[in-house]
Symmetry: D2
Subunit: 143 residues, 4 copies
Protein backbone atom coordinates (compact mmCIF):
# COMPACT_ATOMS: atom_id res chain seq x y z
CA UNK A 1 0.00 0.00 0.00
CA UNK A 2 1.37 3.42 -0.83
CA UNK A 3 2.37 5.70 2.06
CA UNK A 4 -0.04 8.46 1.03
CA UNK A 5 -3.01 6.13 1.41
CA UNK A 6 -1.71 4.84 4.73
CA UNK A 7 -1.38 8.44 5.94
CA UNK A 8 -4.99 9.19 4.95
CA UNK A 9 -6.23 6.11 6.82
CA UNK A 10 -4.26 6.96 9.97
CA UNK A 11 -5.40 10.61 9.91
CA UNK A 12 -9.06 9.66 9.46
CA UNK A 13 -8.83 7.06 12.26
CA UNK A 14 -7.27 9.71 14.53
CA UNK A 15 -10.33 11.90 13.97
CA UNK A 16 -12.69 9.22 15.35
CA UNK A 17 -13.50 10.45 18.86
CA UNK A 18 -14.93 7.04 19.76
CA UNK A 19 -11.67 5.25 18.97
CA UNK A 20 -9.83 7.68 21.27
CA UNK A 21 -12.44 7.06 24.00
CA UNK A 22 -11.94 3.31 23.59
CA UNK A 23 -8.14 3.67 23.48
CA UNK A 24 -7.99 1.84 20.15
CA UNK A 25 -4.77 1.95 18.11
CA UNK A 26 -3.95 0.71 14.62
CA UNK A 27 -1.15 -1.82 15.06
CA UNK A 28 -0.89 -3.08 11.49
CA UNK A 29 -2.05 -1.89 8.11
CA UNK A 30 -1.74 -3.39 4.63
CA UNK A 31 -3.78 -3.42 1.41
CA UNK A 32 -7.18 -4.82 2.43
CA UNK A 33 -6.15 -5.58 6.00
CA UNK A 34 -6.08 -3.80 9.33
CA UNK A 35 -5.26 -4.71 12.91
CA UNK A 36 -6.42 -2.69 15.91
CA UNK A 37 -5.64 -3.22 19.61
CA UNK A 38 -7.53 -1.79 22.58
CA UNK A 39 -7.19 -2.25 26.35
CA UNK A 40 -9.75 -3.36 28.91
CA UNK A 41 -11.48 -0.43 30.60
CA UNK A 42 -14.34 -0.26 33.13
CA UNK A 43 -15.69 2.58 30.96
CA UNK A 44 -16.54 0.05 28.22
CA UNK A 45 -18.23 -2.73 30.18
CA UNK A 46 -21.59 -4.47 30.17
CA UNK A 47 -23.45 -5.60 33.30
CA UNK A 48 -21.11 -8.49 34.17
CA UNK A 49 -17.89 -6.50 33.90
CA UNK A 50 -16.87 -7.78 30.46
CA UNK A 51 -16.39 -5.46 27.48
CA UNK A 52 -19.79 -4.50 26.01
CA UNK A 53 -20.57 -6.16 22.66
CA UNK A 54 -21.14 -2.67 21.27
CA UNK A 55 -17.61 -1.55 22.12
CA UNK A 56 -16.17 -4.62 20.41
CA UNK A 57 -18.47 -4.03 17.42
CA UNK A 58 -17.37 -0.37 17.28
CA UNK A 59 -13.73 -1.33 16.88
CA UNK A 60 -14.65 -4.07 14.38
CA UNK A 61 -16.69 -1.56 12.36
CA UNK A 62 -13.74 0.86 12.25
CA UNK A 63 -11.40 -2.01 11.34
CA UNK A 64 -13.72 -3.01 8.47
CA UNK A 65 -14.18 0.56 7.26
CA UNK A 66 -10.47 1.36 7.17
CA UNK A 67 -9.59 -1.99 5.58
CA UNK A 68 -12.06 -0.98 2.84
CA UNK A 69 -10.43 2.46 2.64
CA UNK A 70 -7.00 0.92 1.95
CA UNK A 71 -8.40 -0.41 -1.34
CA UNK A 72 -10.99 2.28 -2.18
CA UNK A 73 -10.77 4.45 -5.30
CA UNK A 74 -8.88 7.75 -4.80
CA UNK A 75 -10.82 10.70 -3.36
CA UNK A 76 -13.53 8.57 -1.85
CA UNK A 77 -14.85 8.44 1.69
CA UNK A 78 -15.81 5.03 3.10
CA UNK A 79 -19.03 4.71 5.09
CA UNK A 80 -20.67 1.72 6.80
CA UNK A 81 -23.78 0.42 5.06
CA UNK A 82 -24.45 -2.37 7.54
CA UNK A 83 -22.67 -4.87 9.72
CA UNK A 84 -23.57 -8.11 11.43
CA UNK A 85 -21.68 -9.42 14.43
CA UNK A 86 -21.83 -12.77 16.19
CA UNK A 87 -20.61 -12.84 19.78
CA UNK A 88 -18.60 -16.02 20.38
CA UNK A 89 -17.55 -15.67 24.03
CA UNK A 90 -17.57 -13.07 26.82
CA UNK A 91 -15.07 -10.28 26.07
CA UNK A 92 -12.93 -11.01 29.13
CA UNK A 93 -9.29 -10.07 28.89
CA UNK A 94 -6.53 -7.57 29.60
CA UNK A 95 -6.61 -6.30 26.06
CA UNK A 96 -8.21 -7.11 22.73
CA UNK A 97 -7.23 -7.32 19.07
CA UNK A 98 -9.41 -6.97 15.99
CA UNK A 99 -8.27 -8.07 12.54
CA UNK A 100 -10.19 -7.20 9.40
CA UNK A 101 -9.81 -8.41 5.82
CA UNK A 102 -11.50 -7.29 2.60
CA UNK A 103 -13.48 -10.13 1.05
CA UNK A 104 -14.49 -8.30 -2.13
CA UNK A 105 -13.64 -4.77 -3.21
CA UNK A 106 -16.06 -3.32 -5.73
CA UNK A 107 -16.25 0.12 -7.28
CA UNK A 108 -19.20 1.04 -5.04
CA UNK A 109 -19.41 -1.61 -2.31
CA UNK A 110 -16.75 -3.45 -0.33
CA UNK A 111 -17.46 -6.57 1.72
CA UNK A 112 -15.22 -7.02 4.74
CA UNK A 113 -14.90 -9.57 7.55
CA UNK A 114 -13.35 -9.04 10.97
CA UNK A 115 -12.47 -11.23 13.93
CA UNK A 116 -11.98 -10.08 17.51
CA UNK A 117 -9.88 -11.83 20.14
CA UNK A 118 -9.31 -11.39 23.88
CA UNK A 119 -5.66 -11.38 24.94
CA UNK A 120 -4.46 -12.82 28.22
CA UNK A 121 -0.99 -13.08 29.66
CA UNK A 122 -0.06 -16.74 29.91
CA UNK A 123 3.43 -16.90 31.37
CA UNK A 124 5.79 -15.69 28.67
CA UNK A 125 3.12 -15.98 26.00
CA UNK A 126 -0.01 -14.11 25.15
CA UNK A 127 -3.02 -16.27 24.39
CA UNK A 128 -5.74 -15.25 21.92
CA UNK A 129 -9.35 -16.27 22.47
CA UNK A 130 -11.98 -15.59 19.76
CA UNK A 131 -14.76 -13.37 21.09
CA UNK A 132 -16.63 -12.07 18.02
CA UNK A 133 -16.84 -12.20 14.22
CA UNK A 134 -18.26 -9.60 11.82
CA UNK A 135 -19.48 -9.53 8.22
CA UNK A 136 -19.89 -5.96 6.96
CA UNK A 137 -20.75 -3.92 3.87
CA UNK A 138 -18.98 -0.60 3.20
CA UNK A 139 -19.74 1.98 0.52
CA UNK A 140 -17.31 4.28 -1.34
CA UNK A 141 -18.62 7.84 -1.60
CA UNK A 142 -16.96 10.57 -3.74
CA UNK A 143 -15.60 13.27 -1.41
CA UNK B 1 -44.53 -5.31 33.73
CA UNK B 2 -44.05 -5.93 37.44
CA UNK B 3 -41.97 -3.45 39.39
CA UNK B 4 -39.48 -6.09 40.53
CA UNK B 5 -38.56 -6.92 36.95
CA UNK B 6 -38.30 -3.24 36.06
CA UNK B 7 -35.97 -2.74 39.01
CA UNK B 8 -33.75 -5.62 37.84
CA UNK B 9 -33.54 -4.14 34.34
CA UNK B 10 -32.67 -0.67 35.61
CA UNK B 11 -30.03 -2.00 38.02
CA UNK B 12 -28.40 -4.13 35.34
CA UNK B 13 -28.40 -1.20 32.89
CA UNK B 14 -26.80 0.99 35.57
CA UNK B 15 -23.92 -1.51 35.82
CA UNK B 16 -23.06 -1.11 32.10
CA UNK B 17 -20.00 1.12 32.14
CA UNK B 18 -20.37 1.76 28.42
CA UNK B 19 -23.90 3.18 28.80
CA UNK B 20 -22.55 5.58 31.46
CA UNK B 21 -19.71 6.57 29.12
CA UNK B 22 -22.23 7.21 26.34
CA UNK B 23 -24.56 9.07 28.70
CA UNK B 24 -27.46 6.75 27.80
CA UNK B 25 -30.59 6.75 29.95
CA UNK B 26 -33.68 4.52 29.92
CA UNK B 27 -36.61 6.86 29.27
CA UNK B 28 -39.37 4.29 28.92
CA UNK B 29 -39.81 0.66 29.79
CA UNK B 30 -42.69 -1.76 29.26
CA UNK B 31 -43.12 -5.49 28.64
CA UNK B 32 -41.08 -6.19 25.49
CA UNK B 33 -40.24 -2.54 24.86
CA UNK B 34 -37.53 -0.11 25.84
CA UNK B 35 -36.62 3.46 24.99
CA UNK B 36 -33.16 4.95 25.57
CA UNK B 37 -31.96 8.52 24.97
CA UNK B 38 -28.37 9.69 24.68
CA UNK B 39 -26.79 13.08 23.90
CA UNK B 40 -24.32 14.06 21.20
CA UNK B 41 -20.72 13.98 22.43
CA UNK B 42 -17.39 14.52 20.62
CA UNK B 43 -16.18 11.46 22.57
CA UNK B 44 -18.44 9.24 20.45
CA UNK B 45 -17.76 10.49 16.93
CA UNK B 46 -16.48 9.04 13.67
CA UNK B 47 -14.19 10.86 11.23
CA UNK B 48 -16.76 13.39 10.00
CA UNK B 49 -17.96 14.47 13.42
CA UNK B 50 -21.17 12.40 13.46
CA UNK B 51 -21.86 9.76 16.09
CA UNK B 52 -19.93 6.56 15.27
CA UNK B 53 -22.11 3.69 14.00
CA UNK B 54 -20.64 1.57 16.79
CA UNK B 55 -21.88 3.93 19.50
CA UNK B 56 -25.37 3.87 18.00
CA UNK B 57 -25.19 0.08 17.70
CA UNK B 58 -24.03 -0.17 21.33
CA UNK B 59 -27.15 1.62 22.59
CA UNK B 60 -29.34 -0.41 20.21
CA UNK B 61 -27.78 -3.64 21.49
CA UNK B 62 -28.48 -2.64 25.11
CA UNK B 63 -32.02 -1.60 24.14
CA UNK B 64 -32.59 -5.00 22.51
CA UNK B 65 -31.06 -6.92 25.40
CA UNK B 66 -33.10 -5.19 28.07
CA UNK B 67 -36.31 -5.39 26.03
CA UNK B 68 -35.65 -9.15 25.96
CA UNK B 69 -34.99 -9.12 29.71
CA UNK B 70 -38.41 -7.60 30.40
CA UNK B 71 -39.99 -10.80 29.05
CA UNK B 72 -37.32 -13.36 30.02
CA UNK B 73 -38.02 -16.23 32.42
CA UNK B 74 -37.25 -15.45 36.08
CA UNK B 75 -33.66 -15.86 37.27
CA UNK B 76 -32.18 -15.65 33.79
CA UNK B 77 -29.47 -13.40 32.43
CA UNK B 78 -29.88 -12.09 28.87
CA UNK B 79 -26.87 -12.09 26.53
CA UNK B 80 -26.45 -10.98 22.91
CA UNK B 81 -26.05 -13.82 20.43
CA UNK B 82 -25.76 -11.58 17.38
CA UNK B 83 -27.04 -8.36 15.94
CA UNK B 84 -27.25 -6.77 12.50
CA UNK B 85 -27.55 -3.06 11.99
CA UNK B 86 -28.28 -1.04 8.85
CA UNK B 87 -27.16 2.58 8.90
CA UNK B 88 -29.84 4.74 7.26
CA UNK B 89 -28.39 8.26 7.55
CA UNK B 90 -25.47 10.05 9.26
CA UNK B 91 -26.04 10.22 13.04
CA UNK B 92 -26.17 14.03 13.12
CA UNK B 93 -28.21 15.57 15.92
CA UNK B 94 -28.27 17.13 19.34
CA UNK B 95 -29.48 13.92 20.92
CA UNK B 96 -30.65 10.47 19.89
CA UNK B 97 -33.36 8.02 20.82
CA UNK B 98 -33.42 4.24 20.40
CA UNK B 99 -36.63 2.21 20.63
CA UNK B 100 -36.60 -1.57 20.82
CA UNK B 101 -39.44 -4.08 20.57
CA UNK B 102 -39.47 -7.85 21.09
CA UNK B 103 -40.53 -9.65 17.92
CA UNK B 104 -40.62 -13.16 19.36
CA UNK B 105 -39.90 -14.27 22.91
CA UNK B 106 -38.92 -17.92 23.19
CA UNK B 107 -37.80 -19.96 26.17
CA UNK B 108 -34.19 -19.84 25.00
CA UNK B 109 -33.96 -17.20 22.27
CA UNK B 110 -35.60 -13.80 21.88
CA UNK B 111 -35.68 -11.88 18.59
CA UNK B 112 -35.74 -8.10 18.97
CA UNK B 113 -35.79 -5.13 16.58
CA UNK B 114 -34.66 -1.59 17.34
CA UNK B 115 -34.80 1.74 15.54
CA UNK B 116 -32.57 4.74 16.20
CA UNK B 117 -33.45 8.37 15.48
CA UNK B 118 -31.55 11.67 15.58
CA UNK B 119 -33.38 14.47 17.39
CA UNK B 120 -33.16 18.10 16.35
CA UNK B 121 -34.77 21.18 17.80
CA UNK B 122 -37.18 22.57 15.26
CA UNK B 123 -38.74 25.67 16.80
CA UNK B 124 -41.09 24.46 19.50
CA UNK B 125 -40.96 20.89 18.22
CA UNK B 126 -38.40 18.17 18.20
CA UNK B 127 -38.00 16.36 14.89
CA UNK B 128 -37.00 12.69 14.62
CA UNK B 129 -34.89 11.42 11.74
CA UNK B 130 -34.28 7.65 11.31
CA UNK B 131 -30.56 6.85 11.43
CA UNK B 132 -30.32 3.08 11.95
CA UNK B 133 -32.31 -0.14 12.33
CA UNK B 134 -31.30 -3.38 14.08
CA UNK B 135 -32.42 -7.02 14.04
CA UNK B 136 -30.94 -8.95 16.97
CA UNK B 137 -30.96 -12.35 18.68
CA UNK B 138 -30.72 -12.60 22.47
CA UNK B 139 -30.31 -15.72 24.63
CA UNK B 140 -31.69 -16.41 28.11
CA UNK B 141 -29.11 -18.00 30.39
CA UNK B 142 -29.92 -19.41 33.87
CA UNK B 143 -28.12 -17.28 36.48
CA UNK C 1 -47.67 3.63 -8.02
CA UNK C 2 -47.98 4.15 -11.76
CA UNK C 3 -49.17 1.25 -13.89
CA UNK C 4 -46.02 1.22 -16.02
CA UNK C 5 -43.83 0.59 -12.98
CA UNK C 6 -46.22 -2.10 -11.73
CA UNK C 7 -46.05 -3.80 -15.13
CA UNK C 8 -42.21 -3.78 -15.02
CA UNK C 9 -42.23 -5.34 -11.55
CA UNK C 10 -44.70 -8.05 -12.54
CA UNK C 11 -42.80 -8.88 -15.76
CA UNK C 12 -39.48 -9.10 -13.94
CA UNK C 13 -41.00 -11.30 -11.21
CA UNK C 14 -42.46 -13.57 -13.92
CA UNK C 15 -38.94 -14.10 -15.29
CA UNK C 16 -37.69 -15.50 -11.96
CA UNK C 17 -37.57 -19.25 -12.57
CA UNK C 18 -37.23 -19.86 -8.83
CA UNK C 19 -40.49 -18.07 -8.03
CA UNK C 20 -42.27 -20.28 -10.59
CA UNK C 21 -40.66 -23.37 -9.04
CA UNK C 22 -41.86 -22.25 -5.60
CA UNK C 23 -45.32 -21.34 -6.94
CA UNK C 24 -45.02 -17.80 -5.58
CA UNK C 25 -47.48 -15.15 -6.74
CA UNK C 26 -47.62 -11.38 -6.14
CA UNK C 27 -50.94 -10.76 -4.38
CA UNK C 28 -50.53 -7.07 -3.62
CA UNK C 29 -48.30 -4.28 -4.82
CA UNK C 30 -48.02 -0.63 -3.83
CA UNK C 31 -45.29 2.01 -3.62
CA UNK C 32 -42.66 0.50 -1.29
CA UNK C 33 -44.73 -2.57 -0.44
CA UNK C 34 -45.25 -6.05 -1.81
CA UNK C 35 -47.16 -9.15 -0.77
CA UNK C 36 -46.40 -12.63 -2.09
CA UNK C 37 -48.22 -15.91 -1.39
CA UNK C 38 -46.89 -19.41 -1.97
CA UNK C 39 -48.30 -22.89 -1.21
CA UNK C 40 -46.81 -25.74 0.79
CA UNK C 41 -44.97 -28.23 -1.38
CA UNK C 42 -42.90 -31.35 -0.53
CA UNK C 43 -40.43 -30.04 -3.15
CA UNK C 44 -39.49 -27.18 -0.79
CA UNK C 45 -39.03 -28.98 2.52
CA UNK C 46 -36.26 -29.44 5.07
CA UNK C 47 -35.59 -32.68 6.97
CA UNK C 48 -38.68 -32.51 9.22
CA UNK C 49 -41.17 -31.85 6.44
CA UNK C 50 -41.52 -28.10 7.04
CA UNK C 51 -40.67 -25.52 4.38
CA UNK C 52 -36.87 -25.03 4.19
CA UNK C 53 -35.64 -21.71 5.61
CA UNK C 54 -33.96 -21.10 2.27
CA UNK C 55 -37.25 -21.30 0.36
CA UNK C 56 -38.85 -18.83 2.76
CA UNK C 57 -35.79 -16.58 2.47
CA UNK C 58 -35.95 -16.80 -1.33
CA UNK C 59 -39.48 -15.43 -1.40
CA UNK C 60 -38.58 -12.79 1.20
CA UNK C 61 -35.57 -11.73 -0.90
CA UNK C 62 -37.77 -11.36 -4.00
CA UNK C 63 -40.37 -9.48 -1.94
CA UNK C 64 -37.68 -7.08 -0.69
CA UNK C 65 -36.14 -6.62 -4.12
CA UNK C 66 -39.42 -5.83 -5.85
CA UNK C 67 -40.58 -3.55 -3.04
CA UNK C 68 -37.33 -1.64 -3.66
CA UNK C 69 -38.03 -1.67 -7.40
CA UNK C 70 -41.41 0.03 -6.90
CA UNK C 71 -39.54 3.10 -5.61
CA UNK C 72 -36.28 2.85 -7.61
CA UNK C 73 -35.20 5.55 -10.09
CA UNK C 74 -36.36 4.95 -13.67
CA UNK C 75 -34.25 2.64 -15.86
CA UNK C 76 -32.56 0.94 -12.95
CA UNK C 77 -32.29 -2.72 -12.10
CA UNK C 78 -32.52 -3.73 -8.43
CA UNK C 79 -30.07 -6.32 -7.07
CA UNK C 80 -29.65 -7.83 -3.61
CA UNK C 81 -26.56 -6.64 -1.74
CA UNK C 82 -27.22 -8.71 1.38
CA UNK C 83 -30.01 -10.00 3.55
CA UNK C 84 -30.35 -11.30 7.08
CA UNK C 85 -33.19 -13.53 8.16
CA UNK C 86 -34.26 -14.70 11.61
CA UNK C 87 -36.35 -17.86 11.74
CA UNK C 88 -39.11 -17.45 14.33
CA UNK C 89 -40.98 -20.75 14.11
CA UNK C 90 -41.10 -23.89 11.91
CA UNK C 91 -42.64 -23.06 8.51
CA UNK C 92 -45.60 -25.40 8.99
CA UNK C 93 -48.76 -24.47 7.11
CA UNK C 94 -50.95 -24.98 4.08
CA UNK C 95 -49.67 -21.81 2.50
CA UNK C 96 -47.48 -18.84 3.34
CA UNK C 97 -47.50 -15.09 2.89
CA UNK C 98 -44.57 -12.67 2.79
CA UNK C 99 -45.00 -8.91 3.19
CA UNK C 100 -42.17 -6.47 2.52
CA UNK C 101 -41.89 -2.75 3.20
CA UNK C 102 -39.21 -0.25 2.22
CA UNK C 103 -37.58 1.30 5.29
CA UNK C 104 -35.39 3.80 3.48
CA UNK C 105 -35.13 4.44 -0.25
CA UNK C 106 -31.87 6.07 -1.29
CA UNK C 107 -30.51 6.93 -4.72
CA UNK C 108 -28.12 3.98 -4.59
CA UNK C 109 -29.22 1.75 -1.71
CA UNK C 110 -32.64 0.75 -0.42
CA UNK C 111 -33.21 -0.86 2.98
CA UNK C 112 -36.20 -3.19 3.15
CA UNK C 113 -37.81 -5.37 5.82
CA UNK C 114 -40.02 -8.40 5.26
CA UNK C 115 -42.12 -10.67 7.46
CA UNK C 116 -43.25 -14.19 6.61
CA UNK C 117 -46.31 -15.94 8.03
CA UNK C 118 -47.70 -19.48 7.85
CA UNK C 119 -51.42 -19.67 7.02
CA UNK C 120 -53.73 -22.30 8.44
CA UNK C 121 -57.42 -22.87 7.96
CA UNK C 122 -59.18 -22.31 11.26
CA UNK C 123 -62.88 -22.90 10.65
CA UNK C 124 -64.13 -19.98 8.61
CA UNK C 125 -60.99 -17.96 9.28
CA UNK C 126 -57.43 -18.16 8.19
CA UNK C 127 -54.87 -17.75 10.96
CA UNK C 128 -51.44 -16.16 10.43
CA UNK C 129 -48.42 -17.32 12.40
CA UNK C 130 -45.09 -15.42 12.13
CA UNK C 131 -42.31 -17.70 10.86
CA UNK C 132 -39.47 -15.38 9.78
CA UNK C 133 -38.31 -11.77 9.55
CA UNK C 134 -35.77 -10.23 7.17
CA UNK C 135 -33.68 -7.05 7.04
CA UNK C 136 -32.16 -6.53 3.58
CA UNK C 137 -30.08 -4.11 1.51
CA UNK C 138 -30.82 -3.62 -2.19
CA UNK C 139 -28.83 -1.64 -4.77
CA UNK C 140 -30.11 0.30 -7.79
CA UNK C 141 -28.01 -0.32 -10.89
CA UNK C 142 -28.41 1.63 -14.16
CA UNK C 143 -29.66 -0.76 -16.85
CA UNK D 1 -15.83 -37.91 12.19
CA UNK D 2 -17.38 -41.26 13.05
CA UNK D 3 -19.31 -43.07 10.33
CA UNK D 4 -22.53 -43.15 12.35
CA UNK D 5 -22.64 -39.37 12.55
CA UNK D 6 -21.82 -39.08 8.83
CA UNK D 7 -24.68 -41.47 8.07
CA UNK D 8 -27.11 -39.36 10.12
CA UNK D 9 -26.05 -36.20 8.29
CA UNK D 10 -26.42 -37.80 4.86
CA UNK D 11 -29.83 -39.29 5.71
CA UNK D 12 -31.14 -35.98 7.05
CA UNK D 13 -29.83 -34.13 3.98
CA UNK D 14 -31.55 -36.70 1.73
CA UNK D 15 -34.88 -35.88 3.42
CA UNK D 16 -34.63 -32.19 2.42
CA UNK D 17 -37.03 -31.89 -0.52
CA UNK D 18 -35.54 -28.50 -1.42
CA UNK D 19 -32.03 -29.93 -1.83
CA UNK D 20 -33.44 -32.58 -4.21
CA UNK D 21 -35.28 -29.84 -6.15
CA UNK D 22 -32.04 -27.86 -6.40
CA UNK D 23 -30.03 -30.98 -7.32
CA UNK D 24 -27.62 -30.36 -4.44
CA UNK D 25 -25.22 -33.13 -3.39
CA UNK D 26 -22.82 -33.42 -0.46
CA UNK D 27 -19.37 -33.85 -2.01
CA UNK D 28 -17.26 -33.71 1.13
CA UNK D 29 -17.90 -34.07 4.83
CA UNK D 30 -15.60 -33.79 7.84
CA UNK D 31 -15.87 -32.66 11.47
CA UNK D 32 -17.12 -29.08 11.27
CA UNK D 33 -16.94 -28.88 7.49
CA UNK D 34 -19.20 -29.62 4.56
CA UNK D 35 -19.02 -29.19 0.80
CA UNK D 36 -22.08 -29.21 -1.47
CA UNK D 37 -22.25 -28.96 -5.27
CA UNK D 38 -25.29 -28.05 -7.36
CA UNK D 39 -25.80 -27.52 -11.10
CA UNK D 40 -27.21 -24.54 -12.97
CA UNK D 41 -30.92 -24.88 -13.70
CA UNK D 42 -33.46 -22.50 -15.27
CA UNK D 43 -35.80 -23.58 -12.44
CA UNK D 44 -33.61 -21.69 -9.94
CA UNK D 45 -33.06 -18.37 -11.69
CA UNK D 46 -33.73 -14.72 -10.98
CA UNK D 47 -34.86 -12.16 -13.59
CA UNK D 48 -31.53 -11.97 -15.47
CA UNK D 49 -31.06 -15.71 -15.84
CA UNK D 50 -28.51 -16.12 -13.02
CA UNK D 51 -29.14 -18.37 -10.01
CA UNK D 52 -31.46 -16.60 -7.53
CA UNK D 53 -29.73 -15.40 -4.36
CA UNK D 54 -32.32 -17.39 -2.41
CA UNK D 55 -31.32 -20.67 -4.06
CA UNK D 56 -27.66 -20.00 -3.26
CA UNK D 57 -28.63 -19.06 0.30
CA UNK D 58 -30.70 -22.24 0.63
CA UNK D 59 -27.71 -24.43 -0.15
CA UNK D 60 -25.48 -22.30 2.12
CA UNK D 61 -28.01 -22.65 4.94
CA UNK D 62 -28.06 -26.45 4.55
CA UNK D 63 -24.26 -26.48 4.37
CA UNK D 64 -24.06 -24.48 7.61
CA UNK D 65 -26.68 -26.59 9.37
CA UNK D 66 -25.06 -29.91 8.51
CA UNK D 67 -21.57 -28.64 9.32
CA UNK D 68 -23.02 -27.78 12.76
CA UNK D 69 -24.61 -31.25 12.95
CA UNK D 70 -21.23 -32.93 12.45
CA UNK D 71 -20.11 -31.47 15.78
CA UNK D 72 -23.45 -31.36 17.66
CA UNK D 73 -24.07 -33.35 20.85
CA UNK D 74 -25.58 -36.80 20.28
CA UNK D 75 -29.35 -37.07 19.87
CA UNK D 76 -29.78 -33.44 18.92
CA UNK D 77 -31.47 -31.89 15.93
CA UNK D 78 -29.85 -28.79 14.39
CA UNK D 79 -32.07 -25.88 13.36
CA UNK D 80 -31.28 -22.49 11.80
CA UNK D 81 -31.64 -19.53 14.15
CA UNK D 82 -30.63 -16.92 11.61
CA UNK D 83 -28.31 -16.36 8.69
CA UNK D 84 -26.88 -13.37 6.88
CA UNK D 85 -25.62 -13.56 3.33
CA UNK D 86 -23.66 -11.06 1.24
CA UNK D 87 -23.90 -11.46 -2.51
CA UNK D 88 -20.48 -10.86 -4.08
CA UNK D 89 -21.14 -11.41 -7.79
CA UNK D 90 -23.91 -12.68 -10.09
CA UNK D 91 -24.33 -16.46 -9.71
CA UNK D 92 -23.38 -17.20 -13.32
CA UNK D 93 -21.84 -20.59 -13.97
CA UNK D 94 -22.31 -24.17 -15.09
CA UNK D 95 -22.32 -25.40 -11.53
CA UNK D 96 -21.72 -24.11 -8.02
CA UNK D 97 -19.96 -25.20 -4.86
CA UNK D 98 -20.64 -24.20 -1.27
CA UNK D 99 -18.15 -24.80 1.55
CA UNK D 100 -19.08 -24.34 5.19
CA UNK D 101 -16.92 -24.33 8.31
CA UNK D 102 -17.87 -24.20 11.99
CA UNK D 103 -16.45 -21.09 13.65
CA UNK D 104 -17.54 -21.90 17.19
CA UNK D 105 -19.39 -24.97 18.45
CA UNK D 106 -21.22 -24.41 21.73
CA UNK D 107 -23.49 -26.68 23.70
CA UNK D 108 -26.56 -24.75 22.54
CA UNK D 109 -25.45 -22.52 19.65
CA UNK D 110 -23.05 -23.08 16.77
CA UNK D 111 -21.69 -20.26 14.60
CA UNK D 112 -20.88 -21.27 11.03
CA UNK D 113 -19.54 -19.50 7.94
CA UNK D 114 -20.00 -20.56 4.32
CA UNK D 115 -18.65 -19.42 0.98
CA UNK D 116 -20.24 -20.05 -2.42
CA UNK D 117 -18.42 -20.16 -5.74
CA UNK D 118 -19.46 -20.38 -9.39
CA UNK D 119 -17.60 -22.99 -11.42
CA UNK D 120 -16.71 -22.56 -15.06
CA UNK D 121 -14.86 -24.84 -17.43
CA UNK D 122 -11.61 -23.20 -18.40
CA UNK D 123 -9.84 -25.56 -20.79
CA UNK D 124 -8.61 -28.47 -18.71
CA UNK D 125 -9.22 -26.60 -15.47
CA UNK D 126 -12.25 -25.54 -13.56
CA UNK D 127 -12.17 -21.96 -12.29
CA UNK D 128 -13.87 -20.87 -9.06
CA UNK D 129 -15.38 -17.42 -8.70
CA UNK D 130 -16.70 -16.22 -5.29
CA UNK D 131 -20.42 -15.36 -5.47
CA UNK D 132 -21.63 -15.21 -1.85
CA UNK D 133 -20.59 -15.46 1.79
CA UNK D 134 -22.71 -16.38 4.82
CA UNK D 135 -22.47 -15.99 8.60
CA UNK D 136 -25.05 -18.14 10.38
CA UNK D 137 -26.24 -19.21 13.84
CA UNK D 138 -27.51 -22.76 14.43
CA UNK D 139 -29.16 -24.21 17.54
CA UNK D 140 -28.93 -27.75 18.92
CA UNK D 141 -32.31 -29.10 20.02
CA UNK D 142 -32.78 -32.38 21.94
CA UNK D 143 -34.67 -34.83 19.68
Amino acid sequence: MDTKREKLVRESFARQGLMTTIGAKITSIAAGQLEIHFPFSPALTQQNGFIHAGAVASVMDSACGYAAMTVAPDNHNVLSVEFKVNLLAPAAGESFVVRSAVKRAGKTLTIVTADAFALKENGANEKEKPIATMLATMINRPE
